[in-house]
Amino acid sequence: MNVRRRMITVVSAYAVFAAAVMVWAPTVGSTDISLSKAFDRSIPWDQNVDAQIFFVARLPRVLSGAIVGASLASAGVVLQAMLRNPLATPFTLGVSAGAALGAMIAIAIGLDLGAMGVSSVPIASFAGSLVAIAIVYFLASSQKRGLSTNVLLLAGVTLNSFFSALILFVQYMADFTQSFRAVRWLMGDLDVGSYSPILAAIPFIVAAFAVFAILPRTLNLLTMGENVAAARGVEVIRAQRWAFLSASLATGAAVSLGGPIGFIGIVVPHLVRLMVGSDHRIVLPAATLFGAAFTVLCDLTARTIMAPMELPVGIITALIGGPFFLWLLVKKS
């Protein structure tokens, strides 16, 4: 089978799976709702509980889960290929730590600003991620020969620990309710409660995905080494710059929307690679779709398993993702 046909078959299979999950997920939850009533336009909106549960509580959750999952999984694929490091995650380069620091500061000082229906915490965390991206980028490109992946990696890891220390400091200075909120934020939460934060994140994620769309062939060459890629006509520095910026932008937007939900960015790419091979023309779209479905399913578990209590989605992604990944590793070897 040629690559193109295989690509179409595999990617459409993943697309069908992701679409099925996204259609099914809003129909289940901790309460039973009647779908016919939810879509019944003749009942006034303020009296239609089923419609409100479907459109106000569940649909924004499923959408934000899909967006966050797709962004983190694809950013993971791109960064692993670009850094030629299978352990790279969207959180390796300090972006999520920057986002977390922004969120922590907003929570601790009780920052109260809002724009377009988005509250201060997502805004501050996105600003934090941009600061982190800028710092890492300028550190890594300060050398004359352009972006150095080694410096990028080291700068990212160092920035991560530095920001983590600042996060601990901010948390320690905050009072109990604030530090509890801060810790809770770090576990991830997709109950966004309205469409505005989703709409605010979409432009950045669309921009990042537009760059991802032209990257796969370059990523295939980059994984063989910078020299090989350069010999085949890849403008290595430019490609790396775009890969880093787009992956970081997607991560920053995703984290500000749902918090730093762990494991998606590392488990999903590897899982998909184990299933479909290593050609990024297939891996990147497949991981994007699978990441969306995986996150929506994890959030579904989080909101139903202990109802009326809610489990943080980050705990579910870790509990499901970790062992499943280990099992696949053992099975494959």
Binding site: G29, S30, T31, W45, D46, Q47, N48, V49, A51, Q52, I53, V56, A57, R58, G110, D112, G114, S119, S120, V121, Y172, D175, F176, T177, R181, R184, W185, D189, D191, V192, G193, S194, R303, A307, P308, M309, E310
Partner: protein, 276 residues
């Protein structure tokens, strides 16, 4: 003469046992100490104490997570009020031969029990009895006033991300907030969850359809427009009876959030909000 001497010895020894230098690391118990007349014996408080005003003038020696053991010992206390989970501090106090009073938050009745216990420990039995009974009488009066009235189903919110419907923390089937609401003639919509609090999702709030949403805040809201903006996001849950009937109510001040002697104020205000 003999009996008088016995009496004098008894009084003197009782006085000697009565702690003269108390340090309180729990704001709710600082309030209780002042309410039962043990205020003059308090020599230091926690970093979060804001009430009564006299307490704010005292030295501060850390709090739940960061008690300053060195300062505590240097102030030579003879009684340290600690929270139950501060086991390291309790062990250190024991080594320094300083007695501790270990407390944990409980239900509403636990507030009065604790006040009486503190009275016995600090030599203010009668005053503690008067203060505790006073609160009990006021609570009983509220109960009597709301008895027989229909009990609205209430969502009692004590934490929420500003200007959004995210991270909503509500009182559940246990603890003093739940007891306060019940005394004020309300019915907790999450009473079936056997916990002090849960994070409520928008789905649960819509499904449980509370008649009243009562939101508690320690700090005050500056003006009307800020209040409207604070409560605005609830408008998204249009099918909730509380939202439809404009019964989303914000109560501010520590009386409604601190499990101390001001709890009767809190209950009276809750009752007024629920049964105007």
């Amino acid at each position: 003469m003999f009996f008088v001497m016995i009496f004098v010895i008894f009084v003197v020894s009782f006085q000697a046992q009565r702690p003269q230098r108390i340090i309180s690391l729990v704001p709710a118990l600082t309030e209780m100490l002042f309410a039962i007349g043990a205020g003059p014996q308090v020599v230091a408080v926690s970093s979060f104490d804001e009430y009564p005003p006299e307490a704010t003038k005292l030295p501060r020696v850390g709090a739940l997570l960061d008690p300053d053991t060195e300062r505590i010992i240097s102030l030579t206390p003879d009684l340290v009020v600690t929270y139950g989970s501060q086991v390291d501090l309790q062990a250190q106090m024991k080594r320094a031969a300083i007695t501790t009073f270990d407390y944990r938050h409980g239900g509403l009745a636990h507030i009065m029990t604790t006040m009486r216990e503190l009275g016995a420990r600090t030599g203010h039995v009668a005053e503690a009895e008067t203060a505790a009974t006073g609160i009990e009488v006021r609570i009983a009066a509220v109960r009597a006033r709301v008895a027989g009235k229909p009990r609205p189903r209430v969502l009692l919110v004590f934490g929420r991300e500003p200007r959004s419907l995210r991270n909503i923390y509500v009182s559940a089937g246990r603890g003093f907030l739940h007891d306060m609401l019940e005394a004020a003639g309300g019915q907790d919509v999450f009473a079936d969850a056997d916990r002090e609090s849960i994070q409520a999702t928008t789905e649960h709030i819509l499904a449980r359809a509370p008649d009243v949403i009562l939101e508690l805040r320690s700090e005050n809201i500056p003006d009307e427009s800020a209040l409207r903006e604070e409560l605005g996001p609830w408008g998204r849950l249009a099918s909730v009876p509380a939202v439809r009937n404009k019964r989303v109510i914000l109560l501010t001040g520590q009386a409604v959030t601190v499990p101390g002697p001001r709890v009767a104020d809190g209950i009276e205000r809750m009752a007024k909000a629920l049964h105007p």
